[in-house]
Every structure is written in structure tokens, then in C-alpha cells.
Symmetry: C2
């Protein structure tokens, strides 16, 4: 589709450079911006440049942060003896929004995937192992990785590297989602959820 203005063309190109936004959607969004007043468009644009200027990865857990260390790592009320290892920043947000976890995090930045050329050195494992070593005894590492081959590989890599340290290693429970009908659950999940069944009394006491 040809546009009557090279500025529209440029804005559509930029919008469509985001994954999941096609050129038709991009055009719709750009025309919406055209209709807004100038101050509002400036606020829109500046929010992205501000973001890039001010945001850091937390030097401890690699979560996104406005400061050198993030709000979670510097919060004295968080349980310092628990580190939940996740792949992505979005996983931190998802777990935080449950309000059921009061420990710290470690964001790997991805998962080991030889097919995509991602090895352990491309992720933040090194810094994770340093954190584990520095803590010493009494640390629990909770693996919140995805239930895929790559997630399992990453989990096994962590296991191999910390199995000699006095760290408790656990993994988030896999099972049938709350509110999901058994007949629609996939076989692997259902199989795991039978194998890893919990005592009934325990399931009652959980939130």
C-alpha cells in the first residue's frame, strides 16, 4: 500500500517493526496518533526515549529497574533466602502479580537453546552461581522455568552447577490449572499432575 506522505510511511515502518504488528495495524495506530494533538504525541514518543535513557538491568537479579538495584532486591521485607529463577522479566511481573511470593528473583534473560545458538554464556547463569555461592547455607532456589525442552535443559544446567552446594533446589508445581476441566488438559500435564499429586489436606490449606 502506497502512502501519500513519507512521514506516514516512516511512522508505519517504525510501528510495524514491532513484532506482532502488521502494516495494516501499524497504519491504523499511526492514523490514530495523527488525530491526537501535538502534546499528546510528544508525550507518547518521549515515554520511549525516557525509558531507554533511564532504565537499567538490576545488577543483582537482572530485573528492569530505575536504579542500579531493583525495588525487589533492595526491599528489606523480602525473604533474602529464596531466589526464584525465571527466564524473562515478564515472568517476574506475572509472579509478582500473584502476591504469593516474597523472595528474590534471578532473570536468566532466556533459556539454553542450542538450536537458536543460545548457550549458558549468553545468559546470566554465571552471576546466579555467584549469588548462590555468596549466600552459602540455607538458600532455596526455585526454578520457575518454562516446561519445554529448553526450559528443562536450563534447569538441568543449574542443577549440575549447584548440586554440590548446600542449596535447596525446587521447581514450581506443574499440574492442571485452577478452573481447567480435566478433559481439556494435555496428556503430559495430566500425567505429571497425577505423579506429583499433593495430600488432600495440604491442598486445602493453600491459597
Amino acid at each position: 500500500m502506497q502512502h501519500s506522505s513519507k512521514f506516514i510511511e516512516a511512522a508505519v515502518d517504525q510501528m510495524a517493526s514491532l513484532s506482532g504488528i502488521g502494516r495494516k495495524t501499524a497504519l491504523r495506530l499511526v492514523l490514530e496518533l495523527v488525530k491526537r494533538d501535538k502534546e499528546r504525541v510528544e508525550r507518547f514518543a518521549n515515554s520511549f526515549t525516557d525509558l531507554k535513557e533511564h532504565i537499567h538491568f538490576c545488577e543483582s537479579c537482572y530485573n528492569l529497574s530505575d536504579e542500579i538495584r531493583c525495588r525487589i532486591c533492595t526491599n528489606p521485607n523480602r525473604d533474602q533466602s529464596m531466589i526464584c529463577v525465571v527466564e524473562d522479566i515478564r515472568d517476574v511481573m506475572a509472579i509478582e502479580s500473584t502476591q504469593h511470593y516474597k523472595g528474590l528473583y534471578h532473570v536468566l534473560g532466556g533459556r539454553i537453546s542450542p538450536m537458536d545458538g543460545i548457550g549458558p554464556d549468553d545468559l546470566t547463569f554465571g552471576s546466579l552461581f555467584k549469588r548462590v555461592q555468596a549466600f552459602g547455607e540455607g538458600l532455596e532456589l526455585i526454578l520457575g522455568l518454562s516446561a519445554t525442552m529448553e526450559g528443562d535443559t536450563s534447569a538441568f544446567y543449574i542443577y549440575q552447577n549447584i548440586k554440590d552446594s548446600p542449596t535447596k533446589l525446587s521447581t514450581i508445581a506443574r499440574g492442571i490449572g485452577v478452573g481447567t476441566e480435566l478433559e481439556y488438559a494435555d496428556e503430559v500435564t495430566l500425567g505429571r499432575s497425577i505423579m506429583n499429586r499433593t495430600p488432600f489436606e495440604l491442598s486445602l490449606s493453600r491459597p
Copy 2:
């Protein structure tokens, strides 16, 4: 969902202010921008401020343009005796991309919709009637409006205002889309397409 950074929060707010973009999608897009290098994010942001700074509505047809009059209106190769009336700038782009139309356009900026409080004075009818009057004899006005009650109201309003002028009024053909199976077409469209049937020879000569 709580974000670990107020800059993320602000950028997500801005992104989610676009219609059709929810907060989860907005977050995904913002995190994609965070991962890009600074120059690329600046290019992204600047494309929208540039847009707002440089773009005009063409003073003649109300299409978007980099100049006071748009590329189509100023193109001497376009047929000046044909004006296609459309509701939206996107309709111009859609018709342009067919490459079957060589006349001019007039963008109404919407359609008459009393339910939404949009009357004729909120749209560019006045300027359209001035163009029609200024041209005089030999002009063809093609109505490319949507086949809805509002589109029909707008079409009728135009008809009422120019019926005494020596202007030929036509409307784009409604019918079964090319490649569409009859059984899946809605009844109204199918009915109209039978009523407005074209001679077979004519249908062959069309592109």
C-alpha cells in the same frame, strides 16, 4: 500488574492508549523496545513527533499530505473530472493500492451519524460542494462510502445537495467479492448483486 520501573509503567500506559492494544501487548512491545539500542528507539520515537510536525490535511481533498496540497491533487496525470468521495484516509490508500482509479478524492473524515452526534457540519461536505460548484459541467462524483445506514445517509445528503448541479453521481459497485463463494455471501449483498447484475460481455472486459 505492577512494574518494577515507573518508566516502564509510563511507556506501557502510552502504548496501551492506542486502541486495540491491551496492557499485556503493550508490555510486550515496550520490553521489545527496551532490548533495542538507543539510536533505534530514538528513531522509533522521532518518527511520531516528525509525523505530527510535518503532516497536513490537503486543503483540497483532506487526504494526509506532506505539502499544502497532496500528491494526488497536484498530479497533472490524474483525471480532474472525477472525484471519489470516501469516509476515511485509509479508504484512499485502499483504492490507490488497486491502481484502477486515476481521478481525485475527497475525504469526508467520517459519516453522518446522529447517534454519535456527528452531523454534516462536522465533516468536509461544505468544501466538497464548493469543489463541485467550482468545477461546473462534466464532473463525475463517485461515492465510495460504506454500505451502512450512516454511509447511506451521507450518500443521500450528498445527492440532495448536488442533484440540481450538472454533476454525474455514481456509487461503487456492491456485489459478491471476487473469490467469494456464493453460499457464504450475506443475503443483502447477494440480493443487491442480482439486482445490479452486469452484462456478461462487460464483466469480461473488466480487469
